[in-house]
Amino acid sequence: MFESLTDRFDGILTRLRGRGRLTEADVDEVLREIRTALLEADVEIGVVRKFTTAVRDRCVGLELSQSLSPGQQVIKIVNEELVAILGGETLQIRYASRPPTVILLAGLQGSGKTTASAKLARWFKQQGRNPLLVGADLQRPAAVEQLQVLGGQAGVTVFSEATDPVAVATAGLEEAKRLGRDVLIVDTAGRLSIDEELMDEIRDISGSVRPDYTFLVIDAMTGQDAVSTAEAFHAALTLDGVILTKLDGDARGGAALSVKEVVGRPIAFASTGEKLDDFDQFHPDRMADRILGMGDVLSLIEQAERTMDQDVATKGAAAIIEGRFTLEDFLEQLQQVEKMGSISGMMSLIPGVSKDLKRASESVGDSQIGQVKAIIFSMTPRERTDPSIIDGGRRVRIANGSGTTTADVNALLKQFKDMQKMMKGFGKGGMGGALGGLGGLLGRGGPKMSPQAMSDMASQMGGSDLAALGAGAPGGPASPFTGAGGGSKAAKKGKGGKKGKGGGRVTPKSR
């Protein structure tokens, strides 16, 4: 996501990096490019104007810092302004003192409300809540059936009846109280902001269920119109936030910036894939890092934390560091990673991944993973620990056993061998060495991986903690992995997010 915007900035700022001084002409050139990049990213034109003015004001006449190059200074300013627009902090859900906490979703047709409802319900479930879904979209044929299927997948009950949307929502609220559910999510029909009748209807729904949170669902591919839509819905319903969908496309998602700027409400959640788990809270500061090509390791770790078996992950990582990572370990890790969602979604979170690798990862589907697993399953335990014994005969047997070809088996073995060679170097430098090695691995096939990005990643992941500890400072906030109980992750996350500024592990920018 935002790749193209990142590329644009990369192109301009790399040129700037070589300069010793920042002239006014330099700034203007950069701003022109940034303006075009933002417009092509569908950022609303008024917001673009405001953004470029803010950046210009801060860049021209800027006292050049001794320690930072002019390029780094511009990146810093652009980054800060992006964060300023996207909103500083992640929205924290405050649960109603008298349950249920009611959440109303609204939006245009096809923005992804029904899917987002189900994903949101699953998210709440993972937070230890007990949600009820209400299907109040009686307009689109089979919308309620769709919600029922998705609710089934998420393990959340769906309530609906063939009356009218307001009645369904009201009855849904009663049902939630009766069943003792603590979160109620109301899915509504798509509507145009200029359709007065339907806007009245959703106002009535809102009036009858009195939502604690009203979210506008917006497609990340939306163009300039995002702003007028958001304004209209905000005027009718008083929004609390936005859910941004389809961020796994290659749309640059400028709508996110515009809506936040114009309506003043944060992007609360973002949906990044077709699986129900491809959904999370939106982290504005991380997103700005992402726009600037710094990746988003924190989101990846959180995703891992939610879905992976900690023991297996730690064991696998230890094996990697110690240079004894076998196909058996790989199989274990693969099964863990599979649970986390789509491979390409995860790839997009790792900083500095080469373009080729990203593109390749987009085509990794369940069938490819299945194939890799089948090949390893068809090996004997000895072959898995020591692939070098796999000769021609064994290859044929493995291929037959897994329903693949010997070429497929060869490809996997070769890939694994290359990987092992690289991993051998990991252990030498301790954690830093491992990260550096990983950088080399991911950047393969493209020159995009910079040591800078790698050290950013290292600092994102706890370098600051390590440094702080080295200096004898008190420890940062508890790692998510230590307090691993199923407890309230939201609270923990919130704490981390705020304390992060104080130099803890979660500090996203410790450069």
Binding site: E40, I45, Q109, I194, Q333, I350, S367, K414, L441, T482
Partner: protein, 399 residues
């Protein structure tokens, strides 16, 4: 070791543990792709519906289990054309409905006209008007650069003429020969020796998620059955929950037959079966819905290519591949059009949801860069709210 240090280290470890398998798999696929690209593909063949040898660059030909498409009984009991057919005064309704959303651009152009002369702010206003309509930076620059030249040469002398020239340019850009829908049954290739005759036209509806593909198929079905062309619907969206139900309801409304597959089944086989059934029953046209897919998902685009290939096998003959595009789509629409055009040879665009505040200006960029004509426009949720594209009305409604 200090506890915090241990946990920081374990976070990093886990990131590595995740990253390694992820890139190992992705890298493996990249290698496999390159290898297949060299033609040593040993991908397993599927079943009758996909009896092709995997071609260069294909990555999805991995044994999709074939769902047995169930043929839903056609709602022959009462195909019931609606008792009161809605009036379809097309151009009128087009302008009328777009009119609701007017105002924004006329504001800019009003300012341009009111000034009486052309100056720097004139160009800024025009640029802003076009950008706000999602025409895009590239197309806007091209349009305005051309106009600047003509103002300089004295060909255009004043704001009124400037606005009229801009409108004229846009209309000219959007007016093409190929904007009519294919005529059903026309242009069928003659029988090839040893091949089944092509007796069934297939129209595919493709696009990203949530643009209105299923609704568009339903509306086109209504329109054609009302005009006396029997159609068979193929519920090729086997991915989205309840997409089949949604299309079934449209089939009932329009009185068309429908062929459905199991949820999660192979969409190609659904379309294949629909074509077979249409041929057996002597129906001339299959309208095939497909699952929404983001254009950057390589495997899903490959799946779509397969659907197209299977649909175009005799007796089937693909005569339209319509890219459904949401009018609210911004610059990403161009990327979508490019990928779908490359992959499945799109023949035209259906621009939906134009009855809102979005202007759909991205079709200008799509027409300009890819030469893809807009064929149909969606103006509402009713069965009759799908009309032929009218460039003049479109541009007029913009301004």
């Amino acid at each position: 070791m200090d506890a915090a240090l241990v946990t920081a280290a374990s976070d990093a470890l886990i990131a590595v543990a995740v990253a390694v398998p992820v890139c190992l798999v992705a890298g493996g696929v990249a290698i496999a792709t390159r290898r297949r690209g060299r033609g040593t593909d040993g991908a397993a063949r599927s079943d009758g519906a996909d009896a092709e040898v995997a071609g260069a660059g294909r990555m999805t030909a991995v044994l999709t289990p074939r769902a047995t498409p169930e043929v839903a009984p056609a709602p022959t009991a009462e195909p019931a054309p609606p008792p009161t057919p809605e009036p379809e005064a097309e151009p009128a309704s087009y302008r009328g409905r777009l009119g609701k959303a007017r105002g924004l651009l006329s504001g800019y152009l009003g300012a341009v006209r009111a000034k009486g002369r052309i100056d720097a702010t004139t160009w800024d206003d025009l640029e802003e008007a076009l950008i706000r309509a999602d025409v895009g930076v590239g197309a806007t620059d091209a349009l305005l650069d051309d106009l600047r030249g003509r103002v300089k040469s004295g060909e255009i002398d004043g704001p009124d003429a400037l606005v009229e020239s801009l409108k004229g340019d846009l209309v000219a850009m959007l007016t093409t020969d190929g904007s009519g829908l294919a005529v059903v049954g026309a242009d069928r290739p003659g029988p090839v020796e040893g091949e089944t005759a092509r007796t069934v036209d297939v129209w595919l509806f493709v696009g990203v998620n949530g643009v209105g593909k299923t609704t568009t198929v339903g509306k086109v079905a209504t329109r054609l059955t009302r005009a006396g062309t029997p159609v068979l619907l193929a519920a090729g969206d086997t991915f989205r929950a309840a997409a089949g139900e949604q299309l079934s309801l449209w089939a009932e409304r329009s009185g068309a037959d429908i062929v459905r597959g199991a949820e999660g089944g192979d969409p190609s086989s659904v379309v294949f079966d629909a074509v077979q059934r249409a041929a057996a029953k002597g129906q001339p046209l299959v309208l095939a819905d497909t699952a929404g897919r983001l254009h950057n998902k390589v495997n899903l685009i490959e799946e779509l290519k397969k659907i197209r290939r299977v649909s175009d096998r005799p007796p089937g003959h693909v005569t339209e591949v319509l890219l459904v595009l949401d009018a609210t789509t911004g610059q990403n629409g161009l990327a979508q059009a490019k990928v779908f055009l490359d992959a499945v040879d799109v023949s035209g665009v259906v621009l939906t949801k134009l009855d809102g505040t979005a202007k759909g200006g991205i079709v200008v960029a799509i027409q300009r860069e890819l030469g893809l004509p807009v064929k149909l426009v969606g103006l509402g949720e009713g069965p009759g709210d799908l009309v032929d594209f009218d460039p003049e009305a479109f541009v007029d409604a913009l301004f």
